[in-house]
């Protein structure tokens, strides 16, 4: 099903094949001490068959973004405050909790970060797979069994018939990860979010898993949102990338464009911190300082306190979004034609301000 979605926000493209469009989404966590602005006004879209990477340091709101898309923000503290999440033409924020259950798993699904703990230890994986299938199809037991076997086969589990009666603790980490993938994809959702799906796996299994995701995507036209803190994985996996910093997307665009010409000093720093094959030795570049607390955000640009280029303007007001080309946007005052400060030289590692 493809639907035309009219977008007014500049950062969101309008495309016939857009299956997910997020518009000015804000998700806050209200703790007793403070309000944590985990997601603070982000917009992006995802097309059919496309892989969008969301990159950023730990704690910048990636997981909270993902959970918002499923409306599974931890309650009662967390709440989606404003925004639109248009999935297959409908704003899911307008749906009731009952209607949401039909959205989850069927239209949008998610692979959680840790495969070791994502499966229920007291039920067989056959049981857990059939449960996901059964709610969608209400079929009889036998055909569901067949579908469960198919689901396992689709993620390259060997001898799936024999695996159905296994418990999670009887499987290896990589196998569990694939089973989690099979469960998440069993109802053929149009969008799947993979939240740092490989951090718990070793490198070869990581690569296998990423390749598997791409294969499934090629066969089904699945839209993937791939969350990671590793720009190297982005380069391998994604078509487009959104760079998150302190609850905002500070730059997004085609992976190619962002790698060739990163506009935001933070993106430049992130790319510089990716280990390159030809420079195995030597220290990796690291950004000095800490990201701001999401409960106590600075007035202006959130990266300004760590940015080598920051001017008074950067500290005073949040930058506008500037369009470079083909959906490549970045939020940085230095991109303004009227910018008076030091021009951003590409690939110069900002040294950061300390204190």
């Amino acid at each position: 099903m493809t639907t035309t979605v009219q977008q007014t926000d500049s950062a969101v493209e309008t495309n016939d094949e857009v299956i997910l469009a997020v518009n000015d989404l804000r998700t806050y966590i209200f703790t007793r001490a403070a309000t944590v602005k985990a997601v603070d006004g982000i917009s992006f879209s995802l097309r059919k068959g496309e892989t969008l990477g969301i990159v950023g340091e730990s704690g910048c709101g990636k997981t909270m973004t993902a959970l918002s898309l499923l409306r599974l923000v931890p309650r009662p503290a967390g709440r989606i405050v404003t925004g639109e999440i248009v999935l297959n033409g409908e704003d899911i924020l307008q749906k009731s909790e009952d209607e949401m259950r039909d959205v989850r798993g069927r239209q949008i699904s998610m692979i959680l970060q840790d495969p070791q703990t994502s499966l229920n230890p007291v039920f067989t994986i056959g049981n857990q797979l059939r449960e996901a299938l059964g709610i969608a199809h209400k079929e009889n037991k036998r055909s569901m069994l067949g579908r469960a076997v198919d689901a396992l086969r689709s993620v390259n589990v060997a001898a799936p018939e024999r695996r159905l009666d296994d418990y999670p603790h009887q499987m290896s980490g990589g196998m569990k990860q694939r089973v989690v993938g099979a469960i998440a994809m069993s109802c053929e959702p149009g969008v799947i979010i993979a939240d740092e799906p490989t951090t718990a796996l070793d490198v070869t299994i990581q690569l296998q898993y990423l390749r598997l995701l791409k294969e499934i995507q090629a066969n089904t036209g699945l839209g993937i949102i791939f969350i990671t803190h590793d720009f190297g994985v982005v380069a391998r996996m994604c078509d487009r990338v959104a760079v998150m910093y302190a609850g905002r997307i500070i730059e997004q665009g085609e992976v190619r464009d962002i790698f060739n010409a990163p506009a935001h000093p933070y993106t430049q720093a992130l790319i510089n911190s990716v280990p390159k094959l030809e420079q195995r030795v030597g220290r990796l570049y690291q950004i000095d300082g800490q990201p701001p607390l999401l409960s106590n955000l600075p007035e202006g640009c959130r990266f300004a306190p760590r940015c080598a280029y920051a001017s008074d303007q950067c500290l005073e007001s949040y930058p506008q979004s500037y369009h470079m080309k083909d959906g490549h946007y970045a939020d940085c005052w230095a991109l303004d034609p009227a910018w008076q400060g030091t021009p951003i030289a590409e690939f110069i590692a900002p040294t950061g301000r300390t204190g």
Binding site: L119, T124, A132, I135
Partner: protein, 305 residues
Amino acid sequence: MQRFIILRLLQGLLAVFVISLIVFALSRVAGDPLAAILDDESGKEQIELLRKQWGLDQPLHIQYLTYMRRLLTGDLGTSFKWDRPVAELIAEKLPATIQLSAFALIITGVIAFPIGVLSAVKKDSWFDTGGKMFAILGQSAPTFAVGLILMWIFAVQLGWLPTSGKGGLRYMLLPGFALGYYNVAAIMRLTRSSMLDVLDTEYVKLARIKGIPEWRIVWKHCFRNALIVPLTYFSLILAVLITGSVVIETIFAWPGIGQLVIQAIVSKDHITVQAIVMLFALLYIGINIVTDIVYAYVDPRIRYS
């Protein structure tokens, strides 16, 4: 699973053996078994006769073997006080105790698990706070006090329920609740806290992502996992029931084993006390084995290790 059960049964047998040794040893350490029934005027020959008759002149290990042989054939000796076979006394009183304990256990299950689960699901609500207070009371008030207070309110003041004795369900309510209250409170708190842990796990998140209805997530995915912790305390529950029954049966004049053992202790009826202690130990071991099997059924990680 079969191997697990067999292994557990063998361990149980070993425990029974060790306990029989201990009970036997205690009965010999506790003083001359004859002292209780003989007075100072008893003649020397009479004492010797009884000694012979009871086998007390034999070496200890022979005495133990005799004791075990009798035990295995169901011969628990004859009570001094009632002048009847102890086995008969126990057979007469045991059903009442089992009835009351089972009732207390059912109350525990029926009240503690749902309240524990709901307290976790509705954390920090008035329901949760109320449950917390109910539990604190149950865990701090001694069993006899709960029994007396309940009796005073519902039997003496309101006159809704009988004060004591054995009869239908009406007679069981007060002693059953008094006996079960501590366990209700303990299991409620355990269920709540383990439920909170489970609700926070990744597999519950995955279940939500699958689009499963919330009630199913709570009662299928969470409850079975949350049950594991309270289950490990099942043998403690039983210990509370056994010790509690002694107190509660006395307060509510419930004609069970608890009452029997108190009467036997008061009249220094060693044989009866010894038999009942052995019985309690057997019950305890038996329930432990059942618990472990249920536990293994609930948690496959145990079943397969």
